[in-house]
Symmetry: C3
Subunit: 481 residues, 3 copies
């Protein structure tokens, strides 16, 4: 509503000076500035600046004005392309947190900055760390719980908690929970491959916001948080003279991800694979999703899951994780999750995604200027679709039917964090055991308006489960039965 709060009186002012053109807001605004030039003491620059600000906010808040202006950018009726739907995130949606020659950390903004429809996951954040071979990520802690997934590479992770350090080697497929406030550091011990880690963060202090706190550091890049204290405080606390502290904290540092020597890497890599977890008793510090038995598997794909029964550290977070490996030319779904929202990342390969969305349908169905705030019962669905390629992120809300299709030349791997995982059920909408095949004949007949036999035939034609042969090259028509 806030955007509208800007727009209404702004437009009113415009109306007042008797201009009501159909140009885009920004253009209209700037044009308006020109018109005002004849006024005494008028500053056109200031006016343009105001327009820019207004226009900038508009973009950030576009969904908030959807009741005011009809949904923009819909290219064809009934389809919302990637750029215009709030469920798909590409490279350019990320904020770069750190970028050096040795690696980078990128985060998605709060999901609600993209759309109010993602309010249910507002307090979760997603971050990707990528470190070059033979590098070191400086120790730091976060005011957030975190679940890490190693999407690529081999490293060594060290965690300091409750006065103990635990270091263990990690590799592709590993899942690690890091409690809020734990001091963590990392090496990429591989000679050639980048280490890529996906992080789901659940802030404990300010909902939807988290910070990295660097103890090691200097005057800058990163600053050590010790530097924020007065010299006399530090002298007293560390029982150390000011000149020594100045030597420690006065330097400009080389960044958060830095090059480590062969020798340093060698020493810090000497840890047992997946070593024993010292924190929660006998349970392990990490679990590897590829080493689980797939819960679904056929020639078209495999589906792996990790929940608190596999890795008890997940327990209190109400999060589970899954990985779909869709064989080239295969597809997953249509399915929906009964209560989880899935934040899914394309780990490898490329393909295609489609989802049925009642929310966008009701948005786009509105007339311009219509004030209807809440749609009627969703009697129609918008197709949300997107090409998929490595690094893209999907937010798939509970209840929304979707499919993912692998390209014909490469497997498509999608890793997902399930939020609200407890008692979640993945409901199949096609193939063996699909939900329609559970309905009574009378219900099918009444629901679809066709003879039950005809409906049943359709919902029993697919013998596979969960993963199917995809629609083939170029996602174009292929008739199977």
């Amino acid at each position: 509503m806030t955007m509208r709060a800007i727009v209404v009186p702004f437009l009113f002012c415009l109306v007042f000076v008797a201009l009501g053109t159909k140009e885009s807001e920004l253009k209209r605004c700037k044009h308006q500035c020109k018109t005002l030039q004849q006024m005494p003491e008028y500053q056109e620059e200031k006016c343009n600046e105001m327009c820019e600000k207004l226009y900038h906010s508009e973009k950030q808040k576009e969904e908030e004005i959807s009741s005011f202006f009809p949904y923009k950018g819909r290219e064809e009726e009934g389809e919302v392309e990637r750029e215009n739907n709030p469920y798909v995130f590409d490279e350019h949606h990320f904020i770069t947190g750190v970028e050096t020659q040795h690696g980078r950390v990128r985060a998605l903004p709060k999901f609600t900055e993209r759309s109010k429809l993602l309010k249910g996951i507002e307090n979760y954040r997603f971050e990707i760390l990528e470190a070059n071979p033979k590098t070191f990520v400086v120790p730091n802690h976060w005011d957030a719980d975190a679940v890490l997934f190693v999407a690529q590479g081999r490293g060594t992770l060290s965690l300091v908690r409750k006065g103990k350090r635990n270091s263990f080697n990690i590799e592709r497929g590993d899942i690690i929970r890091v409690c809020a406030g734990t001091t963590a550091y990392l090496i990429n011990r591989d000679n050639n491959e980048n280490l890529r880690i996906h992080k789901l963060l659940i802030p404990v202090s300010t909902p939807g916001q988290f910070q990295h706190f660097f103890g090691p550091g200097g005057r800058e890049n990163p600053e050590s948080f010790y530097s924020a204290f007065s010299s006399e405080i530090l002298e007293a606390a560390l029982n150390t003279r000011r000149d020594k502290l100045q030597r420690l904290l006065g330097q400009e540092r080389e960044g958060v991800i830095i090059k480590a020597s062969e020798e340093q890497i060698r020493v810090m890599s000497k840890h047992e694979e997946g070593g024993i977890w010292p924190f929660g008793g006998e349970s392990k510090g990490s679990v590897n999703i590829y080493r689980q038995r797939p819960v679904q598997s056929n020639q078209y794909g495999q589906f792996y899951e990790v929940d608190d029964s596999h890795y008890k550290q997940l327990g209190d977070l109400d999060i589970s994780l899954n990985l779909a490996n869709i064989t080239q030319g295969g597809m997953l779904g249509p399915i929906y999750s009964s209560r989880s929202t899935n934040i899914a990342v394309v780990v490898d390969g490329e393909g295609y995604f489609e989802m049925a969305c009642p929310h966008l349908a009701s948005e786009s169905g509105r007339q311009q200027g219509s004030e209807e705030r809440e749609p009627r019962i969703g009697l129609s669905y918008q197709k949300v679709s997107s090409k998929l390629r490595r690094g893209m992120v999907l937010a798939i809300p509970a209840g929304h039917p979707f499919v993912a299709v692998a390209s014909t030349n490469q497997n498509l791997q999608i890793f997902g964090f399930n939020i609200n995982a407890r008692d979640n059920e993945i409901v199949p909408l096609a193939g063996r055991n699909n939900v329609m095949s559970q309905l009574e004949r009378e219900a099918l007949e009444l629901g679809f308006g066709l003879p039950a036999r005809e409906v049943e035939q359709i919902f029993r034609s697919q013998q596979e489960e969960f993963f199917f042969q995809g629609p083939g090259g170029q996602w174009s028509g292929r008739a199977a039965a």
Copy 2:
């Protein structure tokens, strides 16, 4: 604050053009539009539209501007009538979701669209389904947990979850929990009586928002969510040729609530009453509130409760349910709930409701234009009152003392969903065991400023508990002792 954000600059613009009349906002606004006609290129229509928008938002957000304009509509000092208090919902507050010749589904908007005072129940939604005799409600799932109460009629409910269908007959008084994502459908199997179901919905995806997802359906009314997918995707997933799918999904359907044949009804009704629940082990699929032993009962009324000790499916929702049957001429209370907010629906009869509210008192106590954001300790209370009739909904917050009085010619039945139910205590303010009778004599004396004996006499004069003889016809004066 948003509304104010609109109002301040808007008014400023008005001030600027030098009008400051005392007419209502809308009138003033439109009048303003007229005044502007002499400007070149001015479009009066656009201006009026702007006014309408402004005025429309104002109504929706009236409580947000209460610090700006004094509380409107208070007819007499110390009393907030139905239309002007945010705790009472009548027919016209509902949004119609579906309306056909065979039935309708209506929902209350998000409670916070009515008032910020209801922020505590913002993420709960209330819906009423009403189906005519011998009708069928098309299978669909919701992205919300739901608790259903059968307020009237007899039907058969089918739920598909975890690959199994469970159908069971339901009747007046039945309570059923439906997990998010469960595919549900329903028949009204009665020949004469409407089936009326009250639903409390707890969204799992977007807080305060939910959608119905229809699998069965066609091109429209309802659309099947299958229709949102590309043809080639559906061909591959269902292993079925496009022409057959076109026959299935290409039709315009007859609506969400449709007529069913005698034979269809007969087949779908063949289920045992309250049959065995297959989902949670041995526990039953539903529970009937009228078959519970009343927790309070006398000649003036009965009070029934169902919580997770009666129906374990409620456990994780922190919800309990109650039903007050107030005998004609009787009254319930004054009582308050220690921690629950009650969403109560008048199931039958008519009567009267009064509640003491410190929030509205502090609102109305403010001076116009006063910027005091937070009231002092509530040292005064506003009476919130309303006539009650079938279908009306009350939101009764924790801690707020209230009474409900039945008319003298019919019992008044009020069914309630208790949100935040765990450890809730209903605290009696009159009658046997009222809270004042627990205070020490010195505390009564100091608190009321009268001799303890005199105060005690008053709080011990009523021998009944919970339900009392009401104030009599026309709620007018009747002196008992």
Copy 3:
């Protein structure tokens, strides 16, 4: 964003009339009003009023416009003084709820009215009750759970819940949980000392808002909530004639905190110290924090903790409590809490506080007019600092390193409520077992960019733990090693 919503069009209007001076918003605004005088029917008074409103809201919402105007009031680079940081609350930040000659109740506004950075504790409220010797606090209940800490004095607290009254004597150091909806009253039974109670409130009805409900009372000061009901309702419910009720409820009362006679005090004080809790079985009604074994103790201070293992009534609230007694000339920290936010009150003494804050650093680092909404990874920290004196409140978020230093002439006692207490770890950043001493030599070397030996020497120079000798008089330079 809302503030900006006001400012943008407002400024636009100003721009429109061609004024863009650099005066403060208020002055500019009022000046503007003058300029408009020549317009017909213009009301300068109304215009000024508008300015005042605008300016007033600006102050309340200053953090919301920080992206629009650069952070105001920062006196020197790198330091945020008390008045300009949102983590420190002084006397003038409190709202006075009740103020009589016999005592007062003061509350902090919702934390988010101060800053969005405190959103994590938005739904918690803090209140201080202070009652003069030999006084009575009138019975009332709240729509909030509460944890009480007796900061000073000796009293008797009575709680009515589930139809039973429990009265017990309380004294300095006692902690008591009061469930929402419990009727509570209180005497200060001391002849000389004020009774001072700190209350943390967790609203159960409207998030972040609570009200006191007074049963005892009259027509005013306080009003009894009984008065809000119609006479005929009360007659029927209490079975008492209108004239008697008028005598009971028609009086103007003397206030919420009133003088009690020697005799009244004597009778109401006759309770066993810390008597048996009748509500939760065998557990006690209160616990005294001073009687716990300190978890940290040396010549520079003691640290006490109470959690649900000491006092099981805290269990469901996820709250723990602590008390730091810092010896004169000593200091506590630097430490941080891994997941709790601490609401800390200075109970006695005076001193100094410093905290490293990445949030404010990123705020102040922004360029004026910069639209960057989310900072990059926090690579720098702002020092938040404040003098401390009795009655001041600190909000210390999880993950943020801080120190507290006692003055050289008096012990400094700080009592804290920990929100989000489960699994919280207090992490030491100096002294024995500090987190840096757990890092590998290679990690220290790479992180600090100095030879490991040199870094280790610094982090091993302080032999004490948790509490240290402070920096000495005037917090000025003192070199220890």
